[in-house]
Symmetry: D2
Subunit: 284 residues, 4 copies
């Protein structure tokens, strides 16, 4: 596909090849000349103040400006995963590196490395899973049938499908809000619809799984990103952009408020920040 | 200072200490309970769709919501450094790691590691430099006097002050736009004013430096971030958030369009992307 | 298998699970008490001066002391890949990060990230490939038959098997030496024997591949490491230990002898070091 | 100095400069031609089987073969820090990244990033500290006088000098063994002698510090490495090479024996490995 989904499938290893003789090569991202920077063709200084960062990031990744609706949706996606407290491996990795006195960027890089298959990587896995499911639909199944079959397969394999269930949240508050926005902004497509159908099929089988299996934030981001046409690996990249401020905030807090070389006990922390508060009316 | 600027000064190495006995510890960033996530006190699902990603990032880093003007300014800062083509070390590091077939996040982490003193780190250096200059002002010098003295020191040391001059841009188009916005949005303060005064003082000495020394993007971001009250190391963090989509776009382009294990010759590339185009009127 | 080869197969992604409640957990590597450090049960201070670093590394990774022969073999394996000049992606990544003024460890970390599927990762791929081939033997094929079949499969798939051929060396001088030592030290087993048989089978088909396909250093390390009983992922780890001094030497050379922020053109370098020389007789 | 100690002093930030026009550049490390690899001038295949890995690493870093005594010493140094259990930040960072299912090399890279000022970085700090002390000697003080003054300064600053004291070991078993070997192998020089003199001076002031201040492993490595002529930043590099097998062993143990996404409580672990045992007589 033109959107880069034809990248290397998970884990496949292409053979090493002779080093290509270095020659002229091409990029389609940014053109830099003295006093003139064009990002995907748009003058960067003209973008400054006119595009939100999320819209500019979308332009950079997808090559075209988002519509107003997609711009809103992408801002929402990026906000939805901006932080999730101290217990994710990426946050603990960043804080652990910070205890050694390492500079902030080293803490952030270590956090980025902790976005493994079980953490963030689920988005790409879920996007691939949904496309596999949709191939059933293209082969003539109704969406509902496809969802039932995927749910049956999951029960048989005793494996929770990617994008469902959460270790803490029975109903992930981020997922509901994102899917509601996708509906209101009319950006949802077949991936979101399959995700919703699968959620119903799984909940009808909740007893077999022994736990609630609502769509989680990763699942909502995966389905919406797929409907927006993101390449698989860019699905994970979206999560990476989203979580970066969280990694930075935690590494900075660790570096500025904790003793160096402390042993971090993940579960023995207390929240002592601002009490619950609401956004001002002007924000609603 | 309360904003964390009292972090370890550049390069100072605090002595190793006995590992703190692990005990309960505190965080002020995010509270996570089943079905309820509060970021700096605000329900995350309420933030989704109501705050731009840049505003949410500001909240996470600074602890409070930005005003509408600061939200606009912070979006603009993040957009201004979102990409600068293939030649920055961070971009080349990300692309070089990509040639080995490494996953996207590894390319991004390597890129983050290349934000060294000469690349991105300039923002923190410039923030410290401006605070040192402002201490002259607090000791009774006029802003203009302080700027003249800093310029004289630079000439004597034959050292270009941080935040001035660019290897490619005689007039960095990003800097002018950012400073104009800081003025229009009325968020500029003494750091920006000192930066402007210093630019004049340096340009009066252009002959001694043998090259134009206009404020560059790092300098504009540093001065504005300092006026917004960012801690020094968060100045670099702002650049890190800003550039992440660029690192991702380049690593993804390398992974999906180039042969693995190629030798990358930085200067032998051509831009073959979208031709120059303008933002639609609706964006102005 | 007990040696950890039953780790996650390449690219397989296990589903995320609820975070394990933190409780007491166990390690079998090193016991640390005041004034007493036991590595795999041996007092560390007793190991110092009595084991070579390679022998100590083997003990750490495998849990038991190597025999004298295996100790010699493992030293040889680690020496064989200690450096390969400036063009490998890991070396270029380390040097590129160094141009930004980043500290040495950041350069090394970026280099480590460039050990992707095409670079270093080949060792694990080759170990898995050989075990697949040996399963044919266990199913009754003669070693030679198995080799012929693997060669035929490779011709049909137009894919060079892992561990064969090199972008620069028609006959990789490291591979021959390592395999000769494995023979002399009597540590070679079925993996090495299959590798040799496959080399013959491939060379009989050299015309179909259009290039010589001798065993390369990765292939020799993979076959010998498999015969020594290393887990797949530790095969890559062996390469990682081996190449670390090379990454450090290049990052240090870049940091101390080159101008910061230079653009590195991989192929435009010259060697200006010590002229060819021989080891003193006492070393033979 | 010729040994590269004239690298950038800690934390100094050189100004960014225009990107050097890429042209031919030089390396003195390794020459690679078809079927012929020369490391510092020696044929790599000739080194294989004739040099221990530690000797080959010394050659790579220092440019010359070590004497037999220095080869023994360097092997000993590398063995001395090969692992220190689960609590160092580098080990915890590697294990934390492993919980996400990230590949081994990502765990190792994160571990390398945790070699910050408080962990490993102490070696470079101690080397610089000793050279500063020796400048007193060159200015006419006796070694003992210099040590007394450094001890007095430390008491006054209430700061433990780098390379002394350990959070766990009152007498670090690694340090004693290393210094004993340096004496027996006659490789000790003024840095080691100053370190010993300072240890006496500090112990005479133990009451002021309220804790024993014996030389620790970092201090012994720093003093011996300095006497061997290592550049400051290579002092840390030595630690990095030494600890790599430890990082790998812990990441591998985490990946193969623990549930993914577990929360690691550093202090709640038990050692369940091999019971204490002695090296065979043949090793003594």
């Amino acid at each position: 596909m033109s959107n880069g989904r034809n990248g290397p499938p998970q884990g496949q290893e292409r053979r090493a090849q002779p080093r290509a003789a270095s020659g002229r090569w091409q990029t389609a991202i940014t053109s830099v000349e003295p006093n003139r920077i064009l990002v995907r063709g748009f003058p960067l200084d003209e973008m400054v103040g006119r595009l939100s960062f999320a819209e500019a990031a979308y332009l950079l990744l997808m090559g075209e400006l988002p519509t107003a609706a997609i711009g809103k949706m992408f801002n929402a996606i990026l906000v939805s995963s901006i932080d999730h407290g101290v217990t994710p491996p990426s946050t603990l990795a960043a804080r652990t590196v910070a205890t050694s006195g390492a500079p902030l960027k080293d803490c952030v890089a270590a956090g980025v490395l902790a976005f493994g298959p079980h953490h963030g990587g689920d988005i790409e896995t879920c996007m691939r899973f949904l496309d596999a499911g949709l191939s059933l639909v293209r082969n003539g199944h109704a969406l509902q049938q496809a969802a039932e079959q995927l749910a049956e397969d999951a029960v048989r394999a005793r494996e929770i499908p990617p994008g469902f269930g959460h270790r803490i949240h029975a109903r992930d508050p981020r997922a509901g809000r994102l899917l509601q926005m996708a509906l209101e902004l009319e950006v949802e497509g077949e991936h979101v619809r399959l995700m919703r159908a699968l959620e119903q099929a799984l909940q009808a089988r909740e007893r077999q799984f022994g736990r609630p299996l609502a769509i989680n934030a990763d699942g909502a981001i995966a389905a919406i990103s797929a409907d927006l046409g993101f390449a698989y690996e860019l699905g994970n990249a979206v999560f990476l952009i989203s979580r970066l401020p969280g990694l930075i905030a935690h590494a900075h807090e660790e570096r500025t408020t904790e003793a160096p070389m402390r042993l971090i006990t993940p579960s023995e922390h207390d929240y002592h920040g601002a009490p619950e508060r609401r956004l001002p009316e002007t924000r609603k």
